[in-house]
């Protein structure tokens, strides 16, 4: 809207024609001293600082509150017990297999067993709630929107593909020998004969309910949600649990708690592609006019962009590993741009790690 709307005050221009407004702020510098930037005052490559706030939720085993600009997510992790007899078609994995798994733990195939358990028994249950009044467009009291379902699915999928949590940590064993030693006295030692051959066996699993509550929504939900999941899992302390053969229940210690060991630190970094020219059928294709890669887009920018990219990287080891890549909704991000994007994701990883520690 070059012509007439220029005369209008900025906020009104921004409201009636947001796309041209963003184009203008990206092309014209408001003052000599600082270059053109996004409508939100950020440079195109500028990410909002991420903040991790300590939370104490007394009914959760782990929690985290993550802020990214005006997007705020609260994550609560809560463990509940799943006795093996409640699992249809439970097939126990014996110690031997696990030992193998332990050996080539870095190798991929070993994990497969554990991963299988996590998936087959649904031990990880992440869900994202947006309908908390976090933004005007999310109406309260309605079932999860496509966005919420998509986010939950992406978190679930990444949880499994990254092997952040291992089934071993969620498994509760019963080893009769160890537990009986104390009891031998009154059992008169006969016990060993009867069930000496009784093998050490898994009796239950911890199921982790990972619930994400959006307190405030201003774009880029996945990066924040994922960061909150990782932080909450690192904060998680599960009660030490053992099998009580007499009462035939799993009992937890009130005092003793064990920290979950979270493998690696995968960090998500998202961006959106903003086109100078809104694609029109009569006019030329996307190639006409300039474009900008807007890192960590806010709510307004997300409504003005179609093409998005999310890369999840882990730089804990010397070499940067990509854990997930999602690019869709456009044709502008080609091979070169995606290659280059890895560098941006690395930068983000460093920021998040420092913020987390």
């Amino acid at each position: 809207m070059a012509g007439p709307t220029i005369s209008l005050p900025a906020p009104i221009f921004a409201k009636i024609s947001p796309h041209p407004f963003l184009v203008r702020s990206l092309t014209r510098s408001t003052a000599a001293d600082h270059p053109p930037c996004r409508a939100n005052g950020r440079a195109t490559q500028e990410l909002r600082p991420v903040r991790f706030n300590a939370t104490s939720l007394s009914h959760a085993h782990g929690s985290a509150l993550v802020r990214l600009g005006d997007t705020t997510v609260l994550c609560g992790v809560r463990g509940e017990l799943l006795p093996v007899e409640r699992i249809p078609q439970f097939r126990p994995v014996d110690k031997e297999e696990l030992r193998q798994q332990g050996e080539n733990n870095n190798g991929n195939c070993g994990d497969a067993i554990g991963r299988g358990e996590l998936r087959d028994y649904d031990l990880l249950v992440p869900n994202i709630e947006l309908a908390t009044g976090s933004a005007p467009q999310f109406l309260p009291g309605v079932p999860p929107t496509t966005l919420a379902q998509t986010l939950s699915t992406r978190v679930y999928s990444l949880l499994h593909s990254t092997g952040l949590v291992q089934a071993g940590d969620l498994k509760i064993w019963y080893s009769p020998k160890e537990q009986r030693r104390g009891e031998d006295v009154e059992m008169g030692g006969t016990g060993d004969k009867e069930d000496g051959d009784e093998e050490e066996r898994p009796v239950a699993y911890w199921v982790l309910y990972i619930d994400l509550l959006f307190v405030s929504f201003d774009g880029n939900p996945f990066d924040v949600a994922w960061a909150a999941v990782v932080a909450a899992l690192r904060d998680t302390r599960l009660p030490v649990a053992r099998w009580d053969p007499d009462r035939e229940v799993v009992v937890c210690s009130k005092t003793e708690r064990r920290r979950l060991n979270v493998r690696g630190l995968p960090v998500a970094c998202s961006a959106a592609v903003f086109m100078e020219k809104e694609q029109s059928e009569a006019g030329a294709g996307p190639r006409e006019g300039g474009h900008w890669l807007l890192l960590d887009p806010d709510r307004l920018e997300e409504t003005l962009c179609k093409e998005v990219i999310t890369m999840v990287v882990d730089c804990s080891d010397d070499e940067t590993r990509i854990k997930s890549l999602e690019k869709q909704g456009g044709t502008l991000l080609g091979r070169e741009l995606i290659r280059g994007y890895a560098g941006i994701a690395e930068r983000r990883w460093k920021e998040v790690r420092t913020a987390m520690e």
Binding site: G3, P9, I12, I16, G283
Partner: protein
């Protein structure tokens, strides 16, 4: 009854002064012949000479219009003050009212009417989007019977219009009959921003093609 001057800051329910000495403005209400605040913010006393800004349907508050000479008390939310930094500046929502000039975007057109989303009311950017209608008989003042909506508005156009009625449950009724009202910005079928050439024509500078509109006379 206190005769002290009104406070500078007010909280909803707070006593501001007697109705005998002030008349209620935005952000205030009458209770037992006293003015009380109904918003959080700074208290302003406007002398009658100066008319106040977007009136908040005073008729609803005072059964009988108070004597004109009384100064008006109003409470302005902090977020609305000029002092507030522009980043946090979140205008408090206002409603379109009869007589307001609004800016809206055309959503849908039929032979009978253009459906619009009202985005700006007076100089206030609205948080919510209120729906409005420009009926074919309200497009222009002359040759009303010859008006064709399709030759006056297209979806996506930004239109300056005047509120003529509260309308039905969903729509405000708008009019563009005055010269300065009508399309203020539009994109051609080819996707280029067009420039006005007459009161009923816009031109795509790239292709040179003309398109018909009810064009607002530049102010």
């Amino acid at each position: 009854m206190t005769t002290t001057t009104p406070p500078t800051l007010a909280i909803p329910g707070q006593l501001l002064g007697p109705a005998s000495r002030y008349q209620p403005g935005p952000g205030t209400h009458l209770h037992e012949s006293n003015l009380h605040a109904s918003l959080v913010g700074q208290v302003h006393i406007t002398q009658p000479a100066r008319a106040l800004g977007p009136a908040k349907r005073l008729t609803k508050i005072t059964p009988a219009p108070a004597p004109a000479e009384l100064p008006t008390l109003s409470v302005t939310p902090a977020t609305q003050l000029a002092s507030a930094p522009s980043r946090e500046k979140k205008k408090r929502e206002v409603l379109p009212e009869v007589g307001n000039v609004v800016l809206c975007r055309v959503i849908r057109i039929t032979p009978r009417q253009a459906v619009v989303a009202i985005l700006v009311c007076g100089d206030t950017v609205l948080e919510a989007e209120w729906q409005g209608l420009i009926r074919v008989q309200d497009v222009r003042a002359t040759e009303k019977d010859r008006v064709k909506i399709y030759e006056s508005f297209r979806p996506g156009d930004v239109v300056r219009a005047e509120v003529i009625s509260l309308g039905d449950q969903t729509n405000y009724y708008l009019s563009t009959t005055r010269n300065e009202l009508g399309v203020i910005s539009a994109v051609s079928e080819a996707g280029n921003t067009m420039v006005p050439v007459s009161w009923k024509e816009l031109m795509d500078p790239k292709s040179g093609l003309m398109e018909l509109r009810k064009v607002a006379q530049p102010q």
